[in-house]
């Protein structure tokens, strides 16, 4: 049998990066900016935290680099979609390509000779607390503050909110800075979970976070639940590896693709109505 405390611990370990990234997606998409670039921002952060942390041997500087890298990439997304009016999907794809190429490039160029050096990291529990705090803050912010209502208004109808005297572009820039901040934390956490940087180490977690966001209906608390659910699936998969379920061996690939399957089912409307922000993707 599985030890429940062990299972809970690995659920949180695997779920926390998803929570942070999904919240990042939430601030972006609630402001109306579709963001498939989460993956790229996380990857950039993971690489930056390792390179800087290794060079300076200072965990705080490493974290700062992670945040800076992710915020820069998300600001790029903001500039491209708002100032240059590039389609938000294309911009997100380009950011993912640049981040994947750039981090692989940096990793090869910077880490060759010194790969034995290790980078110091903050204890992962710090990130867990920040993630929990971020969920609560965001839930409160969206529901009870003026800024939160402005964010939702811009995301639901940029044109009307412009007529009401809001500046959608400014709101979106700020929202994307928040996205960068959260994705930066997520990337730094992923890197400190594994201890070093590898090519494409986020391995699609940005997309799983997007999936959790969709299942959670773009709301903070349900999104948290979806992320932990995906974390639990991943944890179960690690613990159940090789064991049999109902007499037959379930292949690992089934468990790893479960989050994607669940998301498809949710998108097909079988798990409740579509709650996408009305202004998602509008300029």
């Amino acid at each position: 049998m599985i030890d429940p405390t062990l299972l809970a611990a690995s659920t949180i370990t695997l779920g926390a990066p998803l929570v942070l990234a999904a919240l990042g997606g939430l601030t972006s998409e609630r402001s109306g900016v579709m963001n498939i670039g989460l993956e790229g921002a996380m990857l950039g952060a993971a690489c930056a935290t390792f390179v800087v942390g290794m060079q300076t041997q200072n965990p705080w500087l490493g974290l700062a680099a992670a945040l800076a890298a992710a915020i820069l990439l998300m600001l790029l997304h903001a500039v491209l979609t708002q100032a240059f009016a590039i389609d938000q999907i294309i911009s997100g794809m380009a950011i993912n390509a640049i981040a994947a190429g750039g981090t692989s490039f940096l990793g090869k160029a910077m880490l060759d000779e010194t790969s034995l050096l290790r980078a110091p990291f903050l204890p992962t529990q710090t990130y867990w607390c920040v993630a929990a705090l971020a969920v609560a803050t965001l839930a409160f912010y969206l529901r009870w503050t003026r800024g939160g209502v402005h964010l939702l208004a811009v995301g639901n109808d940029p044109d009307k909110s412009r007529q009401m005297g809001l500046d959608p572009v400014k709101v979106r820039y700020l929202a994307l800075v928040a996205t960068g901040l959260l994705c930066g934390l997520s990337g730094a956490l992923i890197c400190s979970n594994s201890g070093s940087f590898r090519d494409n180490m986020t391995a699609g977690r940005g997309f799983i976070a997007l999936a959790a966001l969709i299942i959670g209906g773009w709301r903070p608390l349900p999104t948290l639940a979806a992320c932990l659910g995906f974390g639990l699936i991943e944890a179960l998969q690690l613990h159940l590896q090789g064991t049999q379920l109902a007499g037959a061996a379930v292949p690992t690939e089934f468990w790893t693709s479960l989050p994607y399957l669940v998301t498809l089912v949710a998108m097909a409307g079988l798990l409740g109505k579509n709650r996408a922000p009305a202004g998602l993707g509008k300029p």
Partner: protein, 338 residues
């Protein structure tokens, strides 16, 4: 879709920033940029073997590019080309192993088209009838396709004599032969077929009712709905046709080049295909230079790795290329369509 009006200083700044970034990246590796550029050209077009490699890369890029292009014409982003490609490749390999010979080749291509099309069906259905964005659903389908094919080649389709997860090698009578074979250069028939496909696509979009309806839906969904086009139906089958073409690209890569199917089959051809389709500039003819450019970058970047420039440069270049091009071509109008 934007016109060329409204280009200004900020676009020039964007281009300059892109150049600066690439220059900086090359400076970090201490390889002189011009030398790296020379190596890239040399490694992709400098010798018969290099040309062979470039044409080999160009084949899946052109056909998958055609697939993404078709969906894009209907106003849909088929990011799922990669998943459809590997599913098609797996179906083709499975069929060709069971049925050898020329009939097997044709049957394998057909199986790949059907498999790729069916793999795109959920995305089309969700988009048309549930309003879920096709980008998200195809990303999910890509990941599922990846895991499914890994499971297939480590389980049911695995060649037991091999160490790693791969199918058996196809018998040589079900390989698509080379059109030109003068070692070290060779050119498979698949690339001419792809070029014929481009011509067919150009004629089909211009000269047929269905092609016209597809473009109408891409240009303005509401107006075509009002004009009596069945927008939902067009959405579903446009994505399915796109998936079928992507599946065919996978089949060609199995039958003409790899002769087997293995885990993590595609190094991201489906994603590069999106770049190819975007760079084509809305015309099928544009797919030819675009896929050639991406193939040059791909085979050239393998070559410059030898001089100490990491392969990641390829990703940076592609991303910047897409950004610069999209900033000119694919702008959403401020008045808000869709």
């Amino acid at each position: 879709m934007g016109d060329i009006k409204g280009l200004g200083a900020r676009h020039i700044v964007l281009v300059l920033c892109s150049f600066a970034l690439v220059w900086l990246a090359l400076a970090a590796t201490k390889v002189p940029p011009l030398e790296a550029l020379g190596q890239l050209v040399q490694g992709s077009m400098g010798s018969p073997a290099a040309w062979k490699q470039t044409f080999r890369e160009m084949t899946p890029l052109l056909i998958a590019g055609l697939a993404v292009f078709l969906a894009l014409k209907a106003g849909l982003f088929n990011i799922g080309a990669d998943g459809q490609l590997v599913i098609g490749a797996a179906a083709a390999a499975a069929t060709a192993i069971k049925v050898p010979g020329l009939g097997g080749v044709l049957l394998a291509c057909l199986a790949a088209i059907v498999a790729g099309g069916l793999w795109a069906l959920p995305a089309g259905w969700i988009r048309a009838y549930r309003g879920g964005h096709e980008v998200i659903s195809t990303i999910m389908l890509n990941n599922i396709a990846g895991f499914l094919t890994v499971w297939l080649v480590t389980g049911p389709m695995r060649d037991p004599t091999q160490q790693s997860g791969t199918t058996a090698v196809l018998s040589s009578d079900s390989w698509i032969p080379a059109a030109v074979a003068q070692p070290p250069f060779s050119l498979s028939w698949t690339l001419p077929v792809g070029i014929v496909g481009v011509v067919a696509m150009a004629l089909w979009l211009k000269r047929t009712v269905v092609g016209f309806e597809l473009c109408a839906v891409g240009a303005n969904r509401t107006a075509s709905e009002t004009a009596g086009v069945k927008v939902k139906g067009v959405t579903v089958w446009a994505l399915m046709a796109s998936g079928g073409l992507a599946g065919l690209a996978g089949a060609f890569f199995v039958l003409a080049y790899e002769h087997r199917f293995y885990a993590n089959f595609s190094p991201g051809y489906g994603f590069d295909a999106l770049g190819v389709a975007l760079l084509s500039g809305g015309s099928p003819w544009g797919l030819l230079p675009a896929s050639f450019l991406f193939a040059v970058l791909s085979s050239g970047s393998s070559a410059i790795q030898l001089t100490g420039v990491p392969k990641g440069l390829n990703g940076i270049l592609l991303g910047l290329l897409i950004i610069v091009f999209a900033s000119v071509r694919y702008r959403r109008s401020r008045l808000g369509d869709d």
